[in-house]
Homo-oligomer: 256 residues x 2
Amino acid sequence: MLKYETIAQNIQSRIESGDLAPNDKLPTVVDLCDRYGVSKITVKRAFEILTEKGLIASKRGSGTYVKNTTELFDTGSVDPLLVGEDGTREDTFGFTRSDQPIGFTASHSARGRSVSSVVYDFSVTNPPESVARHLNISPYDFTYYFCRVRCLEGEPITIEYTYMPIDVTPGLKRDQLYHSVYAFVQDTLGLKISSFHRIIRAVGATEEEAERLQLDTSAPLLEISQVGFLDDGTPFEFSVARSNGKRSELRDVNVI
Amino acid sequence: MLKYETIAQNIQSRIESGDLAPNDKLPTVVDLCDRYGVSKITVKRAFEILTEKGLIASKRGSGTYVKNTTELFDTGSVDPLLVGEDGTREDTFGFTRSDQPIGFTASHSARGRSVSSVVYDFSVTNPPESVARHLNISPYDFTYYFCRVRCLEGEPITIEYTYMPIDVTPGLKRDQLYHSVYAFVQDTLGLKISSFHRIIRAVGATEEEAERLQLDTSAPLLEISQVGFLDDGTPFEFSVARSNGKRSELRDVNVI
DNA sequence: AAGTGGTCTAGACCACTTC
DNA sequence: AAGTGGTCTAGACCACTTC
């Protein structure tokens, strides 16, 4: 593990354990330099990681402090609050960088939930013009196309429509669709997934979607359209995922 | 302007002008050090900014390359694609760090659109228990509470419910609700807004919301619940904003 | 005046890719 | 073997806050 990662992790542990409470002042940068035998830039790097996670905030001339964030993220669900609302959402998906598992399978099985899939379509086709543009390929190139519903503990949560260029991710089999396609891309093909560009919207379920997700037609769905990129910048997937609005949420920490 | 900001901006301009095309290789770090008369860490910092924006990707041992992102972000709207969909969304709100204006007023008026508000409620109350928890205050403390509808070119887009502790943002007047409350917080009160923690969901419009947003009851809305923090970590607002799903979207670049 | 974080230098050393 | 980005040092200098 890198030095700045070690330092960041140590501090994060102290915050999570309550050893460092909200509004507490962290040791100064120079203090930590001495304690870890590193130079300022390394401590600064560690602080940046934690700042990005929304855990701390540095104030020039004053010090670095633990942010008061336990409330929002510990409750597990947002409160009913202003409008009559239901309980806990099960498909919670964080934006936070680098320490969250990617994809539906990884984020849920990491929490000990059973993930399953129903596959409604799996074919090789020419992508629609707009999809080809997003994938940086020609509409005459071939892509895998599949539609599947992801379930948590047997309950349908998300319907996914995905295009993947066969030249980039060759050898995809129907079998893999029942498990993690990202695991196939990373482990079997040895490719490195590096980023996603997303657009998030709220839409109503079509009749077909409502049936597949066991909802009423026009029920609100959280839609995430995304292009996934490999580390060399090649787009490897275009997908649209629509999730039951009552059971899904996205979390985000936005540092200005 | 800081050196790394200058370098990042120069490169970004070259990408936006097309001078650096997708998949082009950037000058090497050492090259740029020479050219700008700076050290490696400074160039690296510039690269980090652009990496975070999703514009470039560095590959150790090989070089740094322009990512192929024009498609997703240039179209102005996502394509109809798989499911029958409508046209351009007007309320587009990026996640990207540090160069986007914050809040509804700033992001839209920056693009030359007229922003107006309808205020449905403005009062001082004790916050619900859950809101008090998020704001790190007692339920017996007082908060401003207001509900307003934000309009673009006269058309209602978003309905907002906001709580702000009166001890943190004293002196809020009804007048300000017709303009930017964030401008009041930053410019009039001199406070520094530093981050937001958000949860994003899809919900159906209540009857009242449907009427205020001129939609059908149960129409899909994109909901953003957020706690806003000042630079010293004090929560200054808890708000829930629900936006017309047909006219709003969130954008995000997620680097792993 | 003393303390604190932010930027930056000039370089060393390393891991990895490319040829 | 040569080239490239990533981590890190030991410090200088600065902007800002606190007292």
